[in-house]
Symmetry: C2
Subunit: 207 residues, 2 copies
DNA sequence: ATAAAAGTTTGCAGCGACTGCATGTTGGTC
DNA sequence: GACCAACATGCAGTCGCTGCAAACTTTTAT
């Protein structure tokens, strides 16, 4: 897929230029005040070309994470059977978390843009709807219940919510705490049954 | 607001006719194969009028639940301080759950439409983004932590995920179990730390 | 080196969602 | 019955997005 010929390098550059222009312009002016034409002009391609790279305007801002989803599901399925489902999901998510951690500044901007324009959050979830279904099937088979029984759906939704919550909190803070740290804290709180934080409990980590 | 004069009754009728037509047509043909013009024609109003009632095509399918959100937040704030946050959230959600339970057939169709067209699920969450923020502030003040600390966000996301999960599971099953039952089960699993369901544990209810 | 093949960019025409504005209708009020 | 406010409608226009075909560029085969 990445044969790094001239042709392929140009495509990567164009894609990156479009994403960068889209994020910058929307961050500056707001989603509605930026047209696809604006973004294309800033990246020096025709508006029609924009849609050769992204199916929607939103996609240029959000990115495509289906590959991450598939890899995560594979790791989940390969996880040690002695782990609980939550532990296995946390383990499976770790490389994705690490990858995001590397791009902190991009993600900070992306998340600023997303919180300013909530429909983007929604768009991101829509795009991962198919992968989510596959994950639910995987969870169901791991614990040996029917996919429609409700439990796999609950587990997928809830852990997804925990990751999103950690992502938002991490992206907005100025503290040097890592994203992985936030994710572990969230999963720890989940595994502990989401106790009220009134009395701080040092043993909050799932591992 | 509901003065039930002739004028107001007509408005309610038009709104109901548009919603019904939208759900039915989209259920039959799929979201992309139904235009606003189709829906308007089926409800016997002009396309322009459609947009006097709904800001987007999606909204006609999803409905407006901001009033529910506000009422739920009010009940949460009024809940007995001895309850944990999850218990208080469950309590606050109960009337909404009961209301949905009354409209089972509409909700089954709505959810069928939503699962066939995932962008609608996303749209529903987008529309409640503002209320969600208010809820986070309420949660933060109840447990006495800063709204940005992460915990209130986690609690709001996770309980939202539990409700959505229960809603989907209930809408798709043919068993006579009530929606409230599904919600209680989901909250019970949450409070128990989402244990693997391998070994059934009879004490799963939060109450 | 050159021509054919394959992949990419672009313009164009067109649909459908959605909005602002101006105008016509209808229900409520005195 | 006359007046006002609310509501419905038509119209013109913007923008997101798509299919199609022509022009162009890189790769491949000769």
């Amino acid at each position: 897929m990445n044969d790094s010929g001239l042709r392929d390098r140009k495509k990567q550059q164009t894609r990156a230029a479009l994403t960068e222009a889209a994020l910058r312009l929307v961050d500056e002016r707001g989603l509605d005040a930026v047209t696809v034409e604006d973004i294309s002009a800033a990246a020096d391609v025709s508006p029609r070309t924009f849609f050769n790279y992204f199916a929607t305007k939103d996609e240029a801002l959000i990115g495509d994470h289906t590959a991450d989803d598939a890899a995560m599901r594979a790791r989940f399925l390969a996880a040690d059977p002695s782990l609980s489902v939550i532990e296995a999901l946390l383990l499976a998510a770790e490389p994705v978390v690490a990858a995001i951690e590397q791009d902190r500044e991009i993600w900070r901007r992306r998340i600023r843009v997303m919180t300013d324009n909530p429909q983007l959050v929604a768009g991101m979830m829509t795009r991962s709807a198919r992968s989510e279904h596959d994950l639910i099937v995987a969870i169901a088979s791991r614990v040996g219940v029917a996919p429609e029984s409700g439990w796999p759906l609950l587990a997928a939704f809830v852990t997804g919510a925990a990751v999103r919550s950690a992502l938002l909190t991490w992206a907005k803070t100025d503290s040097p705490r890592t994203f992985a740290d936030h994710v572990h804290e969230a999963f720890g709180a989940l595994a502990a049954g989401l106790p009220d934080p009134s009395k701080p409990d040092p043993s909050k980590d799932v591992r």
